[in-house]
């Protein structure tokens, strides 16, 4: 009873072998083009299925890797920002160093650590005080030009009144035509006061300190003449000046020692 079953199994076994080998040999005998066509069909389901399984198997790994990469990305972004800040600081300090070497006065470097909260008062707080030898009324400059003067001194901190403040007037000189006047600001705009109608002042003229006021030494850059216009006066003309210092981005300043102040 078992003999036919064994025979069937043996037949089936060799039949499978024969068919598989025959099919393989037939495929081997095909030309390249036919092989490629057949291979396309053969791998039609395999490659997407393999890829899908690959992602499923690696899902946890991909998730962990993704988290790690996100974290790394955040850290790198922060690092880039920090480096950018350091680069800018480095450039600024280089300019300041260069300026310090050229300046004829003794300079005390200080960093801006605060700005006056009052809108009406234009002042900044710097991280230098009496301990560094800073005194009231000493001129404060940046690499660009005059910033203002010291109005209050603590041991470690000082308050500087900016040139923009109406109380911070500076005796000035139009460099090209040697016209003397007083530069004062109203908090936003600055102008030269007491310029005679006949005075030779033109747009683009550079304005520096004259040294007459007794606080600021001569030759510190104040600004550039922006606009010249007729005032309601028969004797004087209006001169608007664009300050040379960008007061909104002040970071490091110098306090001048040994000047007229």
């Amino acid at each position: 009873m078992q003999a036919p079953t064994r025979l069937t199994f043996a037949h089936l076994k060799y039949l499978t072998l024969a068919i598989s080998l025959l099919f393989s040999l037939v495929v081997m005998g095909l030309n390249q083009r036919a092989k490629i066509q057949l291979a396309k069909a053969g791998s039609l389901a395999f490659i997407p299925a393999q890829r899908l399984l690959f992602y499923l198997v690696r899902m946890g790994e991909i998730y962990a890797e993704n988290r790690k990469l996100r974290l790394m990305n955040t850290q790198l972004s922060l690092e880039v920002e920090r480096t950018k800040g350091l680069k800018e600081e480095n450039q600024r300090l280089r300019r300041m160093l260069n300026f310090k070497e050229r300046a004829p006065f003794q300079l005390i470097p200080a960093e801006v650590i605060g700005r006056g909260p009052e809108r009406a008062t234009k002042s900044i707080i710097i991280d230098g005080g009496g301990d560094e030898g800073i005194e009231v009324n000493q001129p404060v400059i940046s690499v660009d030009g005059l910033v203002g003067r010291v109005i209050k001194v603590g041991r470690k901190r000082s308050t500087v009144l900016l040139l923009l403040d109406p109380d911070c007037k500076a005796s000035s000189l139009v460099e090209r035509s040697k016209v003397y006047s007083i530069m004062e600001c109203d908090g936003e705009r600055c102008s030269l006061k007491g310029v005679p109608l006949y005075a030779d002042v033109q747009e683009g003229d550079r304005v520096v300190t004259s040294g007459w006021g007794g606080i600021f030494p001569p030759g510190l850059k104040l600004g550039v003449v922006k606009k010249v216009f007729s005032e309601n006066s028969a004797l004087l003309k209006g001169v608007e000046v664009q300050p040379i210092v960008d007061f909104t981005s002040l970071k490091e300043v110098f306090i001048l020692q040994g000047g007229p102040g």
């Binding site: 076994k13 072998l17 040999l25 095909l30 291979a39």
Partner: protein, 178 residues
């Protein structure tokens, strides 16, 4: 039947992934174990020569279709022989210990590669035969056999502890009641 088909199909896909990932990690001097042949060996021993030949054809044809279309047919031919011989001789040879299975696997991988390179050389006489046989085939066969021995030893150990029931036993072994 359908369950087995799906199971082996998934195992096949998984092994192809492992072959390109884990096998590369296990590589020693550029020699990697052939995990696909190891799987085919396992299926053939467990299910017999019909399944061995059938899956050998599927493995060979699919892999050649995806990665070596110009050699289409050679892979299926050599793997059909491998699967059939493993399933057929596995019934006849006494393969109780993992070491004996490893030795058997070594012989079959060598035969598989001889067929593979031999058929390739028939189609292209310019192809080398002895050099890859000596530098690739024998080390690969040895490595695969060692890995197979370890796998079978692990399965045997787990079976003895009662964690796995019946999975170690091949068709012949089951028939013999071992």
């Amino acid at each position: 039947m359908a369950y087995k088909l799906i199971k082996y199909l998934l195992l096949f896909l998984l092994t192809t992934i492992l072959q390109s990932t884990v096998a590369a990690i296990l590589s020693i001097w550029g020699i990697k174990p052939d995990l696909l042949l190891l799987l085919l060996f396992y299926i053939s021993l467990k299910e017999g020569p019909i399944w061995g030949a059938g899956w050998g054809f599927v493995f060979g044809f699919t892999i050649d279709s995806a990665y070596a279309p110009l050699q289409l047919g050679i892979g299926s031919f050599s793997k059909v022989c491998f699967g059939f011989l493993a399933g057929n001789w596995g019934d006849k040879i006494y393969l109780e210990t993992p070491q004996s299975k490893g030795l058997f696997l070594f012989s079959l991988v060598t035969i598989h590669d001889i067929l593979r390179y031999g058929m390739g050389k028939l189609g292209n006489p310019g192809l080398a035969f002895w050099y890859p046989l000596l530098t690739k085939t024998l080390p690969t066969a040895a490595y695969t056999a060692i890995l197979g021995t370890i796998v079978y030893w692990l399965i045997k150990r787990q079976t003895e502890k009662g964690y796995i029931i019946g999975s170690l036993r091949g068709k012949g072994e089951t028939e013999r009641g071992i």
